[in-house]
Symmetry: C2
Subunit: 212 residues, 2 copies
């Protein structure tokens, strides 16, 4: 997610090491858990794989589940960056659609989605995954507020737009993971995203025209 630090500041060695440790823990967690199964992996094993003490794990994450879904922060960054890169006079829904495309066409994203798929049987993982989505949604809503100058406390629009985008992404990915392999000519992920966003497009444009 977006830290409120100066983005132009070159991160020092300490920051880089911290980030590296975080990534190492998160990827080790995802790799181990998706291959062996969630409950067959202990925090100690994850810490060993990342070459830190077990105690250190809890300086970064409060639970296995949190570490497993931590990679979603990368998608959130992709989404926010891509949204911010769109021209300001473009309709918000179009910017959102393009930003979603940037996410789903990122090869790393698909790898993570596939790895997480095997863990979708674990309710706690799913729960934390949804929490990550919610965080992404909040950040996106803020970006929409910044773009449109609306007041989120008075206007439902930015929250709804962000929710629609994240929901579209979630439904598209869910559907894509579901019937894949069964149907050789199944729609592509970007096409599913388009289909989902098309549903929300008209309504959101209409709402955008009526700020209080």
């Amino acid at each position: 997610m977006s830290e409120h630090t100066p983005p132009a500041a070159p991160p020092g060695r300490r920051e880089r090491k911290k980030a590296a440790t975080r990534v190492a823990l998160a990827s080790a967690a995802l790799r181990l858990c998706s291959s062996r199964g969630l409950d067959a992996v202990t925090v100690e094993q994850i810490a060993d794989a990342a070459d830190v003490a077990p105690r250190t794990f809890f300086n970064y994450f409060t639970s296995k589940e949190e570490a497993v879904v931590a990679g979603n922060a990368a998608s959130a960054d992709t989404l926010l960056t891509a949204f911010a890169a769109r021209p300001g006079d473009e309709p918000v829904t179009e910017s959102l659609r393009r930003a979603l495309h940037a996410v789903v066409t990122d090869p790393g994203y698909l790898d993570r989605v596939r790895a997480l798929r095997s863990l979708s049987a674990h309710p706690t993982v799913v729960a934390h995954q949804l929490a990550a989505f919610a965080a992404q949604e909040r950040a996106l809503a803020e970006a929409v507020v910044a773009r449109t100058g609306t007041d989120p406390a008075r206007d439902l629009y930015p929250t709804l737009a962000a929710a629609a985008a994240v929901t579209g992404l979630r439904v598209a990915v869910q559907h894509w993971l579901g019937d894949h392999g069964t149907d050789p000519r199944a729609p592509s992920l970007p096409a599913l995203v388009d289909e989902a966003m098309a549903v929300f497009d008209a309504g959101l444009r209409a709402l955008a025209c009526t700020p209080a």
Copy 2:
């Protein structure tokens, strides 16, 4: 959620006791945690309040969080029942809107929402709350499938419609909880639900007309 048991079967004493214990545990968990704070409450205290052994708690729920949000199953039932009660020739979006009204006008629902509000600072509770929403969404999608006869593996519509409804509910409640008390003439919860569903209405109707 809907058990696949014959609905006309009168539940025996055993079933009734089980249901009573479940409710007792869930309400004790919500009451204790919302008043004292989540981490100030142990499973043992919840079990004591429900007058069962600590071990028994885990025969019903796998964690405190799950028990705290268990009351959402009631909302899910309200939603599904209200949706099923709508006439079959009514547009699905209209049925969904009415069903959502049935949920948010249920006084018990508002009590639970308010109680849960104080726990929204705990990431694990929020995560499980979102998981409950997702379960509600899945059940609703099945109901839409049954109503429309669409194929969820091929058609995005039922999943998207259910997701839109639950998202609308979530955004409306979230917004309603946010600026309440600050603005005396804030919109009512049903009005917010209407506003959210209005955004999704046109797009969903258009999609509904183009099944493969």
